[in-house]
């Protein structure tokens, strides 16, 4: 059996997770075609990578978990995909996600929910839940996802894998279907820090097709230091609220002790504007989404309902039938907060709060703190349906991750233990474009942490 056959087998066996959007036959065909042309000497030679369904590929459809893009095939591929292929990686299919990356459980996919690899009753997190589930189930070593408010880190934490959200501007967004453009970044999942870091290194770097991508060389992958002596790691108190899940807290406390044991100086710090992060995020992200999703009007691509009498009716039918409830909710919120008379009260104030949140981080990093350590999520993976009826409860699942998106900072989650057999993630945050320091600490911590241990 070839490596490709084994991969296709594993993907087929994982079908019950509903994590993969691409039919197995199509994956097999595409892998064969890529194997024939793949660069054998590349940094990722032969590494299969699955890709969230909101990143444009030439190989498969790009439907963003939405009916409105059902069957849509992009005529171009994302910069990140082109770089993966050039490095010898094999694009092994598209993964399920919340519609247009809006959600924290992958329950908001038009193509059905994905299952947690360890407990089918639970969610894998979201929105990049399909990617997280396939890495968590050991099907692929790495995957691409996307982040707007935690959509890589939260499912990575839930599925017990490593997830990295790079600095805003580290990775080109060209070919990533936009949700909240000022927050969106392509992120990576890996079984290990090394797998995730290697993929990140390949997809990072300047891109003339994305004006918001920084003019920087690709990220060099650091080596793991012997210990963390010289590192000052801040513990922001706002990320350890009284209602934090006790298991998550125990896993974090144990990890903080490990950091100390590794020689890091651990310091309590405060990020005082943290409580405003979720409201701020739920103004800015929907505002941008309402504009970014305006193009799905049935005029140029995607399914067009029959029988519309005029163009207004066509818009209404296309968008009313094509978008799910969560997307419609956010488009409405976003349209509202940008409207004349409300813009100053909502959008402008949210932008001001966003700069205060970013300033919180700068204040801490300017006072000698190198990295921050926090829980990645407030709870272990929750049950399917548990938060579906309560949007705000769902939004709060991202409470520890949205801040890095608002501030544009790099952040990483890695498994730090288990609660009742379910994974818990710990998060490292770094100053902008200091992914290398974040990865050094993650490499070192990964060697000593016991991800399978009950907290």
């Amino acid at each position: 059996m070839t490596a490709t056959d084994q991969l296709v087998d594993r993907l087929a066996q994982a079908a019950p997770l509903n994590a993969l959007r691409t039919p197995i036959a199509e994956v097999r065909e595409a892998l064969a075609a890529q194997a024939a042309t793949a660069s054998a000497g590349g940094a990722l030679a032969g590494m299969p990578v699955v890709v969230k369904d909101n990143i444009c590929t030439l190989e498969f459809t790009t439907s963003c978990g939405s009916r409105i893009l059902e069957g849509y095939r992009s005529p171009f591929e994302a910069t990140a995909i082109a770089r993966l292929k050039a490095a010898g990686a094999l694009i092994a299919g598209k993964t399920n996600c919340d519609e247009f990356a809006m959600g924290s459980s992958t329950e908001h996919s038009a193509y059905g929910r994905s299952l947690h690899p360890l407990d089918p009753e639970r969610v894998p997190g979201g929105s990049s839940g399909g990617s997280a589930a396939l890495v968590g189930a050991g099907v692929v070593p790495a995957a691409l996802g996307s982040e707007t408010g935690g959509s890589v880190r939260q499912p990575a934490a839930f599925c017990g894998v490593v997830g990295i959200k790079p600095t805003y501007g580290r990775v080109s967004r060209y070919g990533l279907v936009a949700f909240g453009s000022s927050l969106d970044q392509i992120g990576v999942f890996g079984r290990t820090v090394s797998d995730a870091g290697r993929v990140l290194a390949v997809i990072s770097g300047r891109d003339p097709y994305d004006a918001t991508c920084e003019d920087r060389d690709p990220l060099p992958l650091p080596a793991a230091p012997e210990n963390l002596q010289g590192f000052v790691i801040g513990i922001p108190k706002e990320y350890f609220p009284p209602d934090l899940d006790p298991g998550v807290r125990r896993a974090c406390d144990r990890t903080i002790k490990l950091l100390r044991d590794l020689g890091a100086a651990v310091r309590d710090v405060s990020l005082p504007h943290t409580p405003h992060a979720i409201p701020t995020y739920y103004i800015i992200a929907p505002a941008e989404a309402s504009s970014n999703l305006a193009r799905y009007d049935g005029v140029r691509y995607g399914p067009r309902p029959a029988g519309a009498v005029d163009v207004r009716a066509l818009y209404r039918a296309t968008r009313g039938q094509g978008f799910g409830a969560e997307v419609r909710r956010r488009v409405l919120i976003g349209t509202y907060v940008l409207s004349a008379g409300y813009y100053d009260a909502y959008y402008r104030r949210a932008q001001r709060m966003r700069s205060l949140i970013a300033q919180d981080f700068r204040n801490v990093f300017d006072r000698g703190v190198d990295l921050l350590f926090t829980p990645s999520t407030p709870t272990p993976p929750f049950k399917a349906g548990e938060k579906l009826g309560d949007p705000v409860a769902m939004y709060l699942a991202d409470i520890f991750t949205v801040t890095a998106n608002l501030a544009g900072l790099p952040a990483l989650t890695l498994p730090i233990g288990r609660v009742n057999g379910l994974p818990v993630g710990g998060q490292l945050l770094a100053p902008a474009f200091l992914e290398d320091e974040m990865l050094e600490a993650a490499f070192t911590l990964e060697r000593v942490v016991a991800p399978e241990a009950e907290a």
Binding site: S74, A178, A211, S291, T335, L338
Partner: protein, 479 residues
């Protein structure tokens, strides 16, 4: 201003001009006009999922140049913004424009008002934006087709203050604006191709009232003549409404060319709230300071200054200066002709006369080299050919593209004959053929003299030197 009596009209203009670039504002697609529908398109200007805009520096340079030519302050940092509205030919559902922080503000343009002499309109702002596509309503029966070739073409929007007091003034400003933009080589300003489009805000108020009246916006104006017509109609409508005790509703009016009327846009066609917000796909637009210096230095002499100089340097009447300067290429042609040795006034007459007529008949091409024209003008000055004969020589030279004026004149047999023997023969022949007229002339009908000159010229087939003919005729008829 006739018919407006106690009312004063107040007009402000928003002009969109297409910047003369080879590629579009945010992608590499061609801006060429008239290509088959949807052939100059790519993921970016089609607004496909995942595509992102990147700024065309040349468009910014041209906009900076336009701003400097209009005396604006160029802001080294400005912000792109999204203007959100749904329309089938707007592929992203928003237009990338500028809103709160435009590229340039605070300029002015002086133009000749037909009523108030020289007037300076305030340029409130100049910003850059992308064009939308085109909805084609007559291409496919009962269907609207969309052509996105124009989608993403770079535009500058130039907004004036409420500075015009009549539709005629608005038109005069537009002509001056077009002149400046053509001089600065910023835009073709070709109305037929839609590379210059105008929206107007118009209100009326009682003369002396310091408050502005409620304004309406008049759209869909695509010629300078229509600007005057549409605004005149809307002004009259507003005055009639107010005089009848009605109120002006703040709304958008469309000019209907066929009906020669303005009508309110149906509210369904209108989207009042554009939900502008800063474009997150583009960082702030930063103009390098040296661009400003480059463009300032590289800015050509502008029309107002050139008209002034033509009057002073060449002693031309102001009407001549205005006609010549009005077409940059023509003014350049005139100056080249003078530089090649022609006297300014004849050079101006030729440029405005034969040259312009020939160019208009030949797709705007100035077919004859200025140096050749200068030599032809020299032949007229030296009495070698008459003025009417020179026009025939010009026609031949222009058709050939070049040639020696003297050789052409000779080959056409148009070189004037100064030989008194030949002249005497033609004069005698005319006088003996017209005994009646000669008798009347001698009886005191001196106004017949030009008739005799004309007859001699005709007999000589244009070759006789009119000055010598005159002298000879005077002598013979006096005898």
């Amino acid at each position: 201003m006739s018919g407006t009596g106690a009312w004063e009209t107040v007009i402000g203009l928003e002009t969109h001009v297409q910047l003369r670039t080879r590629s579009k504002m945010f992608c590499g697609c061609s801006t060429v006009f008239g290509a088959p529908p949807n052939t100059n398109v790519c993921p970016v200007c089609l607004g496909l999922p995942g595509a992102l805009p990147t700024v065309n520096g040349q468009a910014i340079r041209l906009a900076v140049r336009a701003a400097l030519a209009l005396g604006c302050r160029v802001h080294l940092r400005s912000i792109f913004a999204r203007k959100n509205y749904f329309y089938p030919d707007l592929p992203k559902g928003y237009q990338i424009s500028q809103y709160e922080e435009p590229l340039a503000t605070g300029g002015g343009l002086t133009f000749p008002s037909p009523e108030r002499g020289s007037v300076t309109a305030t340029i409130v702002r100049l910003h850059v934006e992308e064009d939308a596509g085109k909805s084609l309503h007559d291409r496919v029966p009962k269907t609207t087709a969309v052509d996105l070739n124009r989608s993403g073409v770079p535009l500058a929007e130039i907004v004036t203050g409420p500075d015009f007091r009549s539709p005629q003034e608005a038109r005069a400003y537009l002509l001056a604006l077009k002149e400046v933009l053509e001089y600065a080589d910023v835009s073709d300003c070709d109305l037929e191709k839609g590379s210059l489009r105008v929206d107007a805000n118009i209100s009326v108020r009682r003369r002396g009232d310091p408050e502005l009246g409620t304004k309406t916006e008049v759209k869909n104006i695509n010629s300078f003549a229509f600007v005057e017509k549409a605004l005149g109609l809307e002004r009259d409508r507003q005055i009639a409404t107010l005089e009848a005790g009605g109120r002006i509703a703040q709304q958008t009016m469309l000019f209907d060319v066929k009906a020669n009327a303005v009508r309110p846009q149906r509210s369904k066609e209108e989207s009042k709230d554009y939900r502008y917000f800063p474009e997150p796909d583009l960082p702030p637009l930063v103009v390098p300071e040296f661009w400003l210096d480059d463009e300032r230095v590289g800015l050509p002499e502008l029309p107002a200054a050139r008209r002034e100089r033509f009057a002073v340097q060449y002693g031309l009447p102001s009407q001549d200066a205005a006609v010549l300067v009005g077409v940059r290429t023509l003014a350049d042609y005139f100056e080249a002709t003078v530089a090649a040795g022609a006297e300014p006034k004849p050079a101006a007459n030729w440029a405005m006369g034969e040259t312009l007529a020939d160019a208009n008949a030949n797709g705007g091409t100035l077919r004859l080299a200025p140096a050749v024209l200068a030599r032809l003008i020299g032949l007229v000055r030296d009495g070698v050919v008459s003025n009417p004969a020179a026009k025939r020589v010009f026609a031949v030279l222009a058709a050939n593209g070049s040639g020696d004026p003297r050789a052409v004149a000779e080959s056409l047999g148009l070189v004037q004959v100064a030989d008194s023997g030949a002249l005497g023969g033609w004069v005698d022949a005319v006088l003996s053929a017209q005994p009646g007229e000669v008798a009347r002339y001698k009886a005191g009908e001196s106004k017949l003299f030009p008739f005799f000159v004309g007859q001699v010229m005709k007999t000589s087939k244009g070759k006789a030197d009119p000055t010598l003919v005159t002298a000879l005729l005077k002598a013979r008829l006096a005898g």
